[in-house]
């Protein structure tokens, strides 16, 4: 019998209700929902995200343009919402890359153990020695500047975290009775791994993936800001802040402020949601009491 190690595995509705009772998680959920909604309503805007001359150049926030316009007369609100679409996709795909590679690697390393497990985890340790942003820069630079490069770079940088979590989960799950039971009834090792071990490690991976979204959005935007990610004129938060950099001292604060708030609140949203999920799914994992 698989032991119910997490609420998520056995009673998803209970977990959901607990999540909604967690104030921190709800605040996070609201931020995330807001940006998701924003990304969906972009087509409803009277302006195009790339439309130059949608208004006068550099007009401050006002009735026609709630967030003002930039140096090409583009509507900043539309561009911020469209940037959310880019950032959310980038985050999802980058976390997807880390997940799809990191989870099986770490899981198999923990489940099979031995020399294979050792080698895999040593390689992950090496990757963790690089500051994430610096490693992402090196990878994106090698791939050539562009949004896809940034996404792949962020994805690769995230692999060791997932591998490490999955590894420690599997090492403890491996000793459980239900794994022994699987062996006893003659299930193939890979079946035990895929059907019984992986699902039981679901909770910490979900928490890490949520926190990872925030980190991925931040790193991808940083790469774009430096010039290694999205390229102008694409409406992307890092690019927009980079565009607005030259207008800071002359006082056109709105070009940088709104995309900046967008990055900060979306990251905060995923961080809060991740923290809340951790509290709900597995109280033992809580870092702060």
């Amino acid at each position: 019998m698989p032991e119910p190690t997490t609420l998520a595995r056995t009673r998803p509705t209970t977990a959901w209700r607990l999540l909604l009772r967690n104030r921190i998680a709800v605040v996070g959920l609201v931020f995330v929902a807001l940006w998701t909604l924003g990304a969906l309503v972009v087509p409803l805007s009277p302006y195009g995200a790339a439309e130059t001359g949608a208004g006068p150049l550099l007009s401050p926030p006002g009735a026609d343009h709630l967030f003002g316009t930039d140096n090409f007369g583009r509507d900043i609100l539309t561009r911020v919402l469209a940037g959310g679409r880019v950032s959310l996709w980038t985050g999802l795909l980058a976390v997807g890359i880390s997940l799809v590679i990191g989870v099986p690697l770490g899981g198999l390393a923990g489940f099979l153990g031995g020399r294979f497990g050792n080698v895999v985890m040593r390689v992950m340790d090496v990757l963790l020695a690089f500051p994430p942003l610096v490693l992402a820069m090196a990878i994106a630079a090698s791939l050539g500047a562009g949004m896809t490069s940034a996404m792949v770079a962020v994805g690769i940088v995230g692999i060791p975290e997932f591998a490490r979590i999955m590894y420690s989960q599997t090492v403890s799950l491996r000793e459980r009775d239900f794994v022994d039971a699987g062996h006893a009834i003659g299930l193939p090792r890979m079946t035990i791994f895929a059907r019984h071990v992986v699902p039981n490690a679901f909770a910490p991976i979900l928490v890490r993936a949520t926190l990872g979204m925030g980190y991925a959005i931040l790193t991808a935007a940083s790469l774009s800001f430096i010039g290694l990610g999205a390229q102008p004129p694409l409406a992307e938060w890092g690019v927009m802040i980079s565009d607005g950099r030259g207008y800071i001292i002359s006082g056109e604060w709105w070009m940088t402020t709104f995309p900046g708030i967008a990055i900060a609140t979306s990251i905060l949203g995923f961080n809060l949601l991740g923290d809340g999920l951790r509290d709900v799914l597995d109280p033992r994992l809580r870092t702060s009491r």
């Binding site: 500051p131 610096v134 820069m137 990878i139 090698s142 010039g227 940088t256 702060s288």
Partner: protein, 335 residues
């Protein structure tokens, strides 16, 4: 083997792994350095020639040994957008980055540790909630935006901050170089004008760079303090009638310190990543701003060299942290 020797020996395979990683990133990922170097519009024959000159037509293992050989001779490559070797560039810019990172680390400790302690000792009171929310917000702050907002507010609007250009007012001579850190050098030489100016230039980028680390240090200090604060020896110390500050400072903090130190070590890598962004925004003449300039000029040797340096610094700093923790708590050396 003594603990120190064991720890240093354990670093060698990690170092080798780091070198292999950087090599793989440059040579095996689908990007083409020869094409990048020659430019998108270059004729195929030109790209071929560049490839030969860069040695990229040689077998992969031969390229690897050549790379390791170069590293052993202290050759980090040539930075063609400045026309100097990467080692020369790094040597002139390293002190600026060290000064900024150290200042940020000191700020993060000076602010983060007390916040963590106050939070833990006043657990679940309003001040605890405020500091926890602040540390969450701090950890979510994009540095490049925060930096620009600081410049907008404190330079552009309030005029408190000197122009975010360089490490010292352009009208002043830098202090005589002893350590390369302007603040320390001007203190040592007693040059008060230089000291005031270099401090004014340093404090703003250092605060921006420190934000994320302050938040994380506060958070980890809080939870480390909470771990020890309920233990029997703390109750004993209290019931002996020791003043609360002595109990917290001498008994609790000493036992929470290894956790904080470990976080500081891990934060060092983050600081180097953040330095890239912060230096770019404040035009701080360190490694980070140089590396972003290099990126924009598609000059990638400095990027790889910086990546290597960052990983080496990380490994060394964490070794030092482990040794320090070993002194503080000898039990950790028997693991």
């Amino acid at each position: 083997m003594p603990y120190i020797a064991r720890r240093i020996a354990a670093m060698i395979p990690a170092l080798l792994g780091v070198i292999v990683c950087i090599f793989l990133i440059t040579r095996v990922l689908p990007g083409d350095p020869a094409r990048t170097f020659a430019g998108e519009q270059a004729a195929p024959s030109v790209v071929e020639q560049v490839r030969r000159e860069m040695g990229l037509d040689r077998p992969i293992w031969e390229q690897f040994f050549r790379y390791v050989g170069d590293l052993l001779r202290g050759d980090l490559g040539f930075s063609w957008h400045t026309g100097r070797t990467v080692v020369e560039e790094f040597a002139t810019r390293l002190p600026a980055t060290i000064e900024l990172s150290l200042a940020a680390l000191v700020l993060a400790l000076l602010i983060g540790v007390p916040i963590g302690i106050i939070s833990a000792t006043r657990r679940d009171r309003p001040i605890d909630h405020v500091s926890r929310v602040l540390s969450l917000v701090g950890a979510s702050m994009p540095l490049f935006w925060l930096g620009l907002m600081v410049i907008y507010l404190f330079y552009g609007q309030l005029g408190w901050q000197p122009a975010p250009l360089g490490r010292i007012d352009s009208g002043l001579n830098p202090p005589t170089s002893i350590t390369g850190l302007y603040v320390v050098d001007s203190l040592l030489t007693g040059d008060l004008a230089a000291l005031r100016s270099s401090l004014a230039h340093l404090i703003w980028p250092a605060m921006v760079l420190a934000t994320g680390s302050t938040a994380i240090i506060a958070r980890m200090t809080r939870s480390a303090m909470l771990e020890v604060i309920d233990q029997d020896y703390i109750r004993t110390a209290r019931s002996k009638g020791l003043p609360p500050l002595t109990v917290i400072g001498k008994h609790a903090l000493k036992n929470a310190a290894p956790v904080t130190m470990t976080v500081v070590g891990l934060q060092f890598g983050q600081l180097l990543g953040g330095a890239v962004i912060t230096e770019t925004i404040f035009t701080w003449p360190g490694l980070g701003s140089y590396v972003t300039d290099a990126v924009l000029a598609t000059d990638y040797a400095p990027v790889q060299a910086f990546t290597l340096l960052a990983a080496v610094v990380y490994l060394v700093v964490n070794l030092l942290v482990d040794l320090f923790n070993g002194v503080l708590d000898p039990r950790t050396t028997h693991a």
